[in-house]
Structure formats: C-alpha cells, structure tokens
C-alpha cells in the first residue's frame, strides 16, 4: 500500500523527525510505500507532492497540534495516531493502519 503522512510536535525538535523516520522504517520492513512530511522547527521537510497524495491509500497524521495544509487531504481516509506511539512502536502502528484500510476496501 501507499501512505503519506504528517508528523508535527510542539517543540518540533525530536519527535517530529523521529516519528517520521519510524513510519518510513516500518514501511520498508512491511513492504509499504511511506512518505512523511515533517512540520517541525526546520519548517516543512520532505514536503508531499500532490501526485503522492492522490496516489496514497491513506493519510497518517501524527501530531499534537494543528497541522498546515490539512485541506490537501480532502476526500482521503485520514488516520490520526499518537506521536509517542509512532516513535516507540512504528511497526505495530503501521501494520494496524494497513489492516484497517485493507478491511475497509474489502467492504466496498
């Protein structure tokens, strides 16, 4: 599956890049394409392209504040997850999301 996402924490120092890395790493391990945009103290890093968003099966948002440009994801399934969870258990979080999206697709 293909996922895009946003990570953003209040300080923007550590959890933002760590959560992004955790999800991307989990993607490699589980065989999903994952691209995460970081909204932190470096501004926007690894910005999502419109084409990447449109191709994605779902959007993962791991943020503890409001994010920039959420309107880009209109019409997409959005899954919100806790930053701390993602950093500590990226693989578990991603596999749960992938399963939920797969189940939802089967229903349609």
């Amino acid at each position: 599956m293909k996922f895009v996402g946003i990570t953003s924490c209040i300080a923007g120092l550590a959890h933002t890049p760590m959560a992004a890395k955790a999800l991307e790493k989990a993607g490699v391990k589980l065989g999903h394409e994952v691209k995460i945009e970081q909204q932190g103290a470096m501004g926007i890093v690894n910005q999502l392209k419109a084409s990447e968003i449109s191709e994605a099966d779902a959007v993962i948002i791991a943020a503890d504040q409001s994010i920039e440009g959420e309107d880009r994801f209109k019409g997409k399934p959005i899954i919100r997850v806790k930053l701390g969870q993602v950093v500590s258990n990226g693989e578990i979080v991603l596999s749960k999301i992938a399963k939920a999206i797969a189940d939802k697709k089967k229903m349609h």
């Binding site: 760590m18 701390g84 950093v87």
Partner: protein, 149 residues
Amino acid sequence: MLITENQIYLEQTFKDRDEVLAFIAEQAINQDVINNKTLLFDDFIAREDEYSTAVQEGIAIPHAKSAAVKQAKLYFVSLEEPISWASPDQYQVKVIFAILVPKQESGTKHIAILSALASRLMDDDFQESIFEIDQASQVLNLLKEMEEV
C-alpha cells in the same frame, strides 16, 4: 559548537530521571548555557509529561525549547547502571542526549543537526554504536558526522 568535551559525562551514576535532568541543568548554568536552572528543569519535565522522551530501549532524549536557554547545546550522559525514565513503555535508560535550544530558535543549522541526530537515533546500527561509546571523542565524532549530512 553544539557540544564539546565539557558537555560529555560518561559512566555516571544517578538514581532516576529527575536527578539526571537536575544534573544537566546544574552543569548548564555553570557553563553559562542557560540563565535559569529552575525554568530549564521545569521545561524538561513539562516535555516529559506530554510524552516521555525515552523513545527506545536504553535511550532518552530530553529536550527543551526554553526561554532559559542562551545558546543551543547538546549534553551527553551515559550511565553505569540503567535507570527508569518513567516512560509508559517502561524503558530503562542508559544513554541520554539532552537537547537545549533557545525558545525562539528555528530553522538554523543547529536545529538541523539536532533533528538529524533524533532521526538517526531510530537506526538500529546507530543505536548500537551509541551503546558502545566509552570515550568523549566518540561522541564528538558522531556529531561531526551529523554536521556533514
């Protein structure tokens, strides 16, 4: 410089998270890195309360973007014996990277390096190399690597 030998403390003994954070605040005020020890400590704790900075087994990265901080600095502390970090995952911590950044600072080279460090900490290989650190020069080399990225 984000870190020099004066900010590296190897094989230390502390009993818990708060003792480590108080120690770092104490060093930081003595080294003129901060102007308010209590405020820095409180900002550290506020962050820990939001979510623990012990993000993997063995490693914690307490950080504060604080009005108390005069210049961005990194402190490295390794422990003789692992301690509890009061994290929901019950991680035991042996290595601490403490990140101190002035409240208003963003988008600078320092932040880029610290962000790079945080994301490298998710690499299994990188984690292992950190647990093997027993000399200050290894910490300094690690950071030098980071600056080249």
